[in-house]
């Protein structure tokens, strides 16, 4: 079926409602959506209506898809629709399915309450995909009525759409006065599988405790599938501390950009920094290779204020370390997964590699998969110092978090 291709791929947010762990249907749908060239931001299972609405707004999703198998859908779908409306984002349609648990009679009630569409068991996947594309495709347009996170999110969407047309100017939100000492940007890079996302989430938890009134923004870049152009943007699933209105989380698919960041990332960074909303902005690149320079540390205009490079213990030995350019350019280096048996050797090898740079780079040993890890505490303290984030009144000093177990 040929339909006019929109300027930018559709971005859908999918999730499973609270107290429901049935994710087999939604994972199949996610794969199919990506295979059909859509970008799927997957929030995960057991998600509260408020979390779904927050994510839909921050991601500026074209639509929200809910997969519900545990009952309670009459109340839950309505809650999502109502909260979207209450937060000025009633334009985001909500659709969903639940195999046989959502009956045709339920569907009628749900439609009256504002749900856009219910897919029943037996709907052929290809037909569903074609309909979703036709139903929800639209180019993002500036909307002066949007405020707060939705305005930021739309500005980023416009930058993403513009990124597809070379030469197009990045749209900016209306300039706000820039507050000094805010909006420090840290680029986080490292090979795939280093645990960057988990480390960022643990840093987020430290930030939220250290700055009880502050806001943090996270930009997560993930690769698009080269053939379909679609993507499954799944970083939100593991970002348990991003479930907070003080966290602005935006997923970006690379859409063919091979720099390690979406082509819209520079504009998105500007938008977030210029908003004056955030004390700290973390930008996660896709997994980087030996010569990658996602943050323009070596050439071009530096995109970030500091770079954190994350390595796992299994980087392939001393010789491989020599070849990683970003180890020279990074301001902070973390060896993550330090509970791994290879970590001891890795620590010594990486420190030796850093010593060659004569930049006084300190190696941080972290185990982000473990909560309350003292290594992450120390890393956050160092980042916070560099970012000029003094512990705010009432905030816990970053390096004295309670350590359990």
């Amino acid at each position: 079926m040929a339909s006019p291709r929109p300027a930018a791929p559709l971005r859908l947010l999918t999730a499973v409602p609270i107290c429901d762990g049935h994710d087999s249907a939604v994972t199949t749908i996610n794969l199919e959506l990506a295979r059909h060239g859509l970008e799927v931001i997957y929030l995960g299972y057991h998600q509260a209506a408020s979390a779904i609405v927050r994510a839909a707004i921050q991601e500026d999703a074209h639509a929200v898809g809910l997969s519900s198998y545990n009952g309670g859908h009459l109340v839950f779908f309505k809650e999502v629709v109502d909260q979207l409306r209450a937060r000025g984002s009633g334009d985001i349609p909500v659709f969903g399915g639940g195999g046989g648990t959502i009956t045709p009679a339920d569907e009628r009630v749900m439609k009256r309450q504002g749900t856009d569409k219910i897919y029943f068991a037996g709907t052929p996947l290809d037909a569903m995909m074609a309909e979703i594309k036709a139903r929800y495709a639209r180019d993002p347009k500036p909307n002066p009525k949007f405020t707060g996170d939705r305005a930021l999110a739309r500005a980023i969407s416009l930058a993403e759409a513009a990124g597809r047309r070379p030469g197009a100017r990045n749209p900016r939100p209306a300039a706000r006065p820039r507050r000094p000492g805010r909006g420090f940007v840290i680029g986080v890079g490292g090979p795939g599988g280093a645990g960057k996302s988990t480390l960022i989430d643990e840093l987020t938890s430290r930030f939220l405790r250290a700055r009880p009134a502050g806001r943090i923004a996270l930009l997560a870049n993930d690769p698009s599938h080269p053939a379909s152009g679609g993507a499954i943007l799944g970083d939100r699933v593991s970002a348990i501390y991003a479930q907070d209105d003080r966290v602005f989380f935006r997923s970006l698919a690379t859409r063919g950009s091979l720099t390690g960041l979406s082509a819209a990332a520079p504009a998105a960074i500007d938008i977030l920094r210029d908003s004056g909303e955030f004390d700290l902005i973390l930008v996660e690149s896709v997994g980087v290779g030996q010569e990658s320079d996602p943050f323009n540390v070596f050439h071009g205009t530096r995109l970030v204020d500091a770079v954190l490079f994350v390595l796992p213990p299994h980087y392939g030995g001393r010789i491989q370390l020599q070849k990683i350019a970003l180890l020279n350019g990074a301001d902070f280096v973390a060896l993550n997964k330090c509970d791994h048996p290879m970590a001891h050797t890795a620590k010594a090898e990486i420190q030796a590699r850093l010593d060659q740079n004569h930049r006084g780079q300190v190696l941080h040993a972290t185990t982000a998969a473990r909560h309350f890890d003292p290594g992450v505490d120390a890393l956050f303290a160092a980042l916070a110092r560099q970012a000029g984030l003094e512990p705010a009144p009432g905030g816990e000093p970053a390096c004295q978090l309670r350590v359990a177990d």
Binding site: S24, Y42, E79, A121, D201, V237
Partner: protein, 581 residues
């Protein structure tokens, strides 16, 4: 090599041993004579009965042979019922229509809806015709995730899909009127992440009703299988290591205090429902079981004490592999437990609960689900499952209504009591060429999965690399594709479609009024115990921090604290689970 590689090797070694013994039986006259003598003895011990139409039948069917190799092949490769390696059956006699020795009634009827008193009424309805007391309990979403019914954003979920339990007082209402200390009583609870809290409430409620001395008499099963939660079912509250620690605390306490209780039901059901193939279901379930055995052994527990308290739970769908899945699992478990863990006979037996496949049921022309379930029941009983639950035909769209729940239970009675398939003779099917061929293939495929996980560092390491989740999702995706591409016929969905509209069936749903009532009860409980709760939680926190046995403390905490208060307290100590895609 992780433990899993050793287990795979032990099965191969056992198979070589059987082959060598078969060869020896054919060449060594003394050994052949020994086998013939054993065989004659086994045959002589078989009693005879007759069918209602007068056909004489042996109580146990044995291969019709006197050839020593064939005898060795059966005795060592399959085993007499109740004998190593238990492929034939876990016990000597099962399902037989005998006054004595017929053993356990296998039927289990899962129920859970609304508030505790609603589920209690359903239990009373379902147990009207049961000789023994069988209370199999489904909990609602908030309870499964360890949340109190007054938690923000839950309305609509309370009492939906299972019963809402917040406090020990709800637990009192749930089993009210049933004598839980009866010898033939069995209570099962489909409860995982908060299992230690819920079991502690169960114990506390039983003590209030039957006195403190009742605890050793309580009999039943709590699912509590956290590995499969992380791999497939997604009801996880705490990080994996803490979840396993709380579970092992509970198992150890139960082994010491509740000799008739099964504190974990190692479950493939949810793995299969999430998309796994039958082979994956068997491989992941067994490997999870061996992992628990390894963890408990590391903590110093005696395999011969905890081994007999482990039980298993498998899905039974319509794929051909289900003809032998239970048999293959029993055999692998027995050999692995004996040869790698040094377990004695009682600890080698895999005790199996089976449930017919929920995923195989569809909403379109849903009466066909009665037939699907009936076929699955047949397969489950052909595997000599120790107990079985049959799904209701209306499950694709609702918590089972009374009518279809009863039909599902009658399905089992028709198979076991009305039909003569199982009630006269043990081992009616074992040794059939098709079954043997399947058993060999399925066992080999399971061991291949073991070895793949072994190269990843074992079950927990594989889980951290999301191996099981990827495999399950891949298989689930392939299944959907087959259905949509008409390569997997599903009658009424992609074949022989009649386009009849789905009939209006009365749905079992919990009214907002009841949901509010549950919240009011919970608030009253919290108010009543507002003074004692903080101290109780502090004690629990201290035990958890000091890495003491958390379960031993929970038994006291639940007297004055709600489920949500307790999980929040423990999450404060160990943190929250970070989900995987």
């Amino acid at each position: 090599m992780s433990q899993l590689g050793k287990i795979a090797d032990s099965i191969d070694a056992y198979n070589r041993h059987v082959a060598a013994e078969v060869a020896r039986a054919r060449t060594d006259a003394r050994f052949a004579a020994e086998l013939r003598a054993r065989w004659a003895e086994a045959r002589a011990a078989v009693e005879w009965t007759a069918s209602p139409t007068g056909t004489p039948l042996p109580r146990l069917a044995l291969p019709d042979t006197d050839e020593p190799g064939a005898i060795a092949q059966f005795l060592l490769g399959q085993g007499l019922p109740g004998q190593f390696p238990y492929a034939t059956a876990a016990y000597r006699e099962m399902y037989l229509d005998k006054e004595s020795g017929a053993g356990e009634e296998p039927m289990r009827l899962f129920a859970g809806l609304g508030l505790a008193e609603d589920t209690n009424a359903r239990f009373k309805y379902l147990n009207r015709h049961q000789k023994s007391l069988r209370l199999s309990t489904a909990f609602d979403g908030p309870t499964l995730y360890g949340l109190d019914s007054d938690h923000e954003g839950l309305l609509g979920k309370v009492g939906e899909g299972g019963v809402a339990i917040d406090t020990v007082e709800d637990m009192l209402r749930l089993y009210d009127g049933f004598d839980l200390t009866r010898k033939d009583a069995s209570v099962s609870m489909t409860m995982n992440a908060p299992a230690p809290v819920i079991l502690a409430m169960f114990i506390a409620a039983a003590k209030r009703r039957f006195g403190a001395g009742c605890v050793p008499n309580l009999r039943g099963t709590i699912q509590a299988d956290m590995l499969k939660e992380v791999q497939a079912q997604n009801e996880v509250i705490f990080p994996v290591d803490a979840s396993l620690r709380f579970l092992c605390d509970m198992i150890e306490w139960c082994v010491g205090h509740m000799p008739r209780w099964y504190p974990v039901s190692i479950s493939g059901y949810h793995i299969a429902e999430a998309g796994a193939t039958p082979v994956q279901q068997a491989a992941f379930t067994l490997s999870n079981g061996f992992t628990y055995a390894g963890l408990l052994r590391e903590r110093g527990a005696d395999v011969n004490k905890f081994g007999p308290r482990l039980s298993f739970f498998l899905d039974c769908g319509l794929d051909v592999e289900y003809l032998v899945l239970g048999r293959v699992c029993r055999r692998i478990w027995a050999v692995g437990m004996r040869d790698v863990f040094g377990a004695d006979a009682k600890a080698q037996i895999l005790k199996l609960h089976t449930q017919t496949s929920g995923r195989s049921l569809i909403a379109a022309e849903f009466q066909n689900n009665l037939t699907r379930t009936a076929v699955e029941l047949m397969l489950a009983y052909m595997n000599y499952t120790n107990s079985c639950h049959s799904n209701s035909a209306d499950e694709p769209f609702t918590t089972p209504t009374e009518k279809y729940a009863l039909l599902a239970s009658h399905g089992q009675s028709i198979l076991l009591e009305e039909s003569g398939v199982f009630k006269h003779t043990m081992n009616m099917f074992g040794g059939a060429p098709g079954l043997l061929a399947l058993e060999r293939q399925v066992e080999k495929a399971v061991l291949d999965v073991f070895r793949e996980m072994d190269t990843l560092g074992g079950v927990i390491a594989a889980m951290e690399q999301r191996y099981q989740r990827s495999k399950i999702q891949e298989a689930g995706h392939a299944y959907e594709k087959q259905v949509y591409a008409n390569q997997r016929p599903i009658i009424g969905l992609n074949k022989y479609i009649s386009h009849e509209p789905i009939p209006q069936v009365p749905l079992a749903r919990t009214s907002p009024r009841k949901q509010r009532l549950q919240v009011e009860r919970l608030r009253a409980f919290k108010k009543k115990h507002a003074r004692q709760a903080p101290a109780a939680l502090r004690r629990l926190e201290n035990v958890a921090r000091a890495r003491g046995n958390v379960f031993a403390e929970l038994v006291h905490t639940v007297e004055v604290c709600s489920l949500g208060q307790i999980t929040a307290c423990l999450a404060g100590v160990v943190g929250k689970f970070r989900p995987m895609v």
